[in-house]
């Protein structure tokens, strides 16, 4: 399936000792020709030890940077090791690796630059809280206006990026709440973005890193960042 392209799965993980081994093994079971790197984002538990047990590569950040910094580290790793395609999958077990081949297909066959696994194309699977759903609706609108593409799930963390996107994102990746901002970043530079339908599983263990009032803060912050990023792009 990889047609001689080097594919890397990037798994950002923070304090996921209970499930990270299973996540890595599940990916390996469903996709044999693929490399895996777990980016251990300064976990305070045994995430590193558990990930190493599953025979994936592990890169441990000495300090917690958050999902943005962790995934960016993954892009740097992908770039330095000459990978053609990078797939992002969360370390908490929410993402089913069976979608990996579906994520790869548009990149390999149709020259798409970025593929996003969307929960909302078909409106199925695990749905999140009201606040998050509202935020997602807001981002959908912003995206349609700014980049003239309809992205239904901007916060989805299951994605695939081709080499062109990796080269850009390894140096330019938003820190706080990167998933929606990246879409603007890529969209305004005319990267081809496509979505495929996915179902996500509910978080098996642990707590979501974004919740309640924090969600509101992030929404405001991301909206400001998106607006400014958009203006930056207009100037180029």
């Amino acid at each position: 399936m990889d047609k001689l392209k080097k594919v890397l799965v990037i798994i950002p993980a923070y304090n996921e000792e209970k499930i990270i081994k299973k996540v890595v093994e599940e990916i390996r079971d469903t996709n044999s020709n693929i490399d895996i790197v777990v980016i251990n984002d300064g976990s305070t538990d045994n995430t590193q030890i558990e990930a190493k047990k599953a025979k994936g590569e592990v890169v441990s950040l000495p300090i917690n940077l958050g999902i943005g910094g962790a995934v960016q580290t993954g892009f740097k790793y992908a770039y330095q090791n000459n990978y053609d395609i990078a797939i992002q999958i969360d370390g908490d077990g929410q993402h089913d690796p069976k979608y990996i081949k579906d994520l790869l297909r548009p990149i390999l066959e149709n020259d798409i630059d970025t593929v996003i696994g969307s929960r909302f194309i078909n409106n199925e699977g695990y749905q999140s809280t009201f606040v998050r759903k509202l935020g997602i609706k807001v981002f959908q609108t912003i995206n349609s206006i700014l980049i003239k593409q309809r992205i239904t799930d901007s916060t989805s963390g299951i994605r695939a990026y081709n080499r062109k996107a990796i080269e850009l994102l390894k140096d330019n990746y938003p820190i706080d709440y990167p998933e929606p901002e990246v879409i603007i970043l890529l969209g305004k530079r005319n990267f081809r973005i496509k979505e495929i339908p996915v179902k996500m599983r509910s978080r098996s263990e642990g707590v979501s890193s974004i919740s309640g009032i924090k969600s509101l803060y992030y929404m405001i912050k991301v909206i400001i960042s998106i607006m400014i990023e958009y203006r930056r792009m207009c100037d180029e």
């Binding site: 000495p62 300090i63 400001i224 960042s225």
Partner: protein, 118 residues
């Protein structure tokens, strides 16, 4: 609208515009700009809506409303400074961790190099 109000509005807009340009040129990160934009917003609102400022002055027992605005801005300045102290504290801690990590890595590398030489 009197002169001080005009000056106040212009100053507040200049502040907001300055912060916006800094973020645009990537000299300031968005997360740090939020508090500045909030400060600018309060500044501009109280500059434009003189009645609002007057009401608050009365409530606080301040005779001269422009002094109230000064007080509010000083208070916001204190908030900003506290925010910076928090950010600097984290950076200091992270910096210490990195320094130690690097020292230990250097040591590991030196040991590996001597092993290779043998």
């Amino acid at each position: 609208m009197n002169r001080i109000q005009i000056i106040s509005i212009l100053a507040s807009l200049l502040l907001i515009y300055t912060i916006y340009r800094l973020v645009h040129r990537k000299k300031m990160r968005e997360q740090y700009a939020i508090l500045w934009f909030f400060t600018g917003a309060i500044f501009v609102v109280f500059s434009i809506f003189r009645g609002l400022l007057d009401s608050i002055s009365k409530f606080m027992g301040i005779y001269y409303p422009p002094a109230t605005l000064t007080l509010i801005i000083i208070f916001l300045g204190v908030l900003l400074a506290i925010h910076f102290s928090i950010v600097i504290s984290k950076l200091t801690g992270d910096n210490e961790k990195l320094i130690q990590e690097i020292a230990l890595l250097k040591h590991k590398i030196e040991k590996i190099e001597t092993k290779i030489d043998k």
